[in-house]
């Protein structure tokens, strides 16, 4: 299946795009997604370990399964406030 991953801030600048499409096996988890992003976008390599993944606008645990209709985003360390 193919999932869309939104990118923000530093991640968006490093990948030079605000969205990447990632090909995943059915039933893939958030941690598999994260590894796959890393292989597909080596420029995100440094940022991935300190980032979180949001699924449907909530921070996801690494063993959550993702689905192709999910709204997925890569969340670099936040700095609001």
């Amino acid at each position: 299946m193919k999932v869309k991953v939104q990118l923000f801030a530093a991640a968006k600048e490093l990948a030079r795009t605000d969205r990447i499409d990632v090909e995943l096996p059915e039933g893939a988890t958030v941690s598999v997604l994260s590894e796959t992003i890393g292989r597909q976008c080596p420029e995100l390599h440094e940022l991935l370990p300190v980032s979180r993944i949001a699924v449907n606008q909530e921070f996801a645990l690494s063993d959550l399964q993702v689905h192709d209709a999910d709204e997925i985003a890569l969340i670099p360390p936040v700095s609001g406030g």
């Binding site: 939104q6 923000f8 801030a9 530093a10 600048e13 490093l14 440094e46 940022l47 300190v50 949001a54 606008q57 909530e58 921070f59 985003a73 969340i75 670099p76 360390p77 936040v78 700095s79 609001g80 406030g81």
Partner: protein
């Protein structure tokens, strides 16, 4: 007026204070986060805030809800700006009302701590000689080029 705001305009702080005011509340605590003119020795020119808007709004709502559950408060309002912000402008504002004052202070502090930890908003600092994405609150700042 919504008590949770993610906006590009200036925050109407007085309106938010009045929004949380109730006849039983004897205390109103507020916190405003302002853009500082320097950071880590760099002379800051201005900041740009980017947000993952729908999720940021949702997390702000959650923080307000948790503050209501954890502290004996009457009401809470939170506003966060996005986009470009100049020195001394307020990027975030929190107002909390409570019957007695400790709860208002505690909830206000809780809210700003959670905002800095949880809300998907990022600031880019434009300083003399460059720009950098700030990674907080640990501030483990990588150099993301440009």
């Amino acid at each position: 007026m919504s008590k949770i705001q993610l906006i590009s305009d200036t925050i109407d702080e007085a309106a938010l204070v009045e929004a949380v005011r109730t006849p039983v509340a004897g205390a109103i605590a507020t916190f405003a986060g302002a853009v500082r003119d320097n950071n880590k020795g760099r002379a800051v020119l201005y900041l740009e805030y980017e947000a993952y808007d729908p999720m940021a709004h949702k997390v702000l709502e959650r923080i307000a809800k948790e503050a209501r559950e954890r502290f004996e408060i009457e009401d809470i309002a939170i506003a966060h700006r996005t986009g470009r912000m100049e020195i001394s402008e307020d990027s975030v504002f929190i107002a909390v009302s409570s019957v007695h004052r400790p709860a208002a202070f505690d909830a206000c502090r809780y809210a700003i701590d959670e905002i800095k930890r949880e809300v998907p908003i990022w600031k880019k600092e434009y300083f003399e000689g460059g720009e950098v994405w700030i990674e907080g609150p640990g501030d483990c700042e990588h150099s993301h080029g440009e």
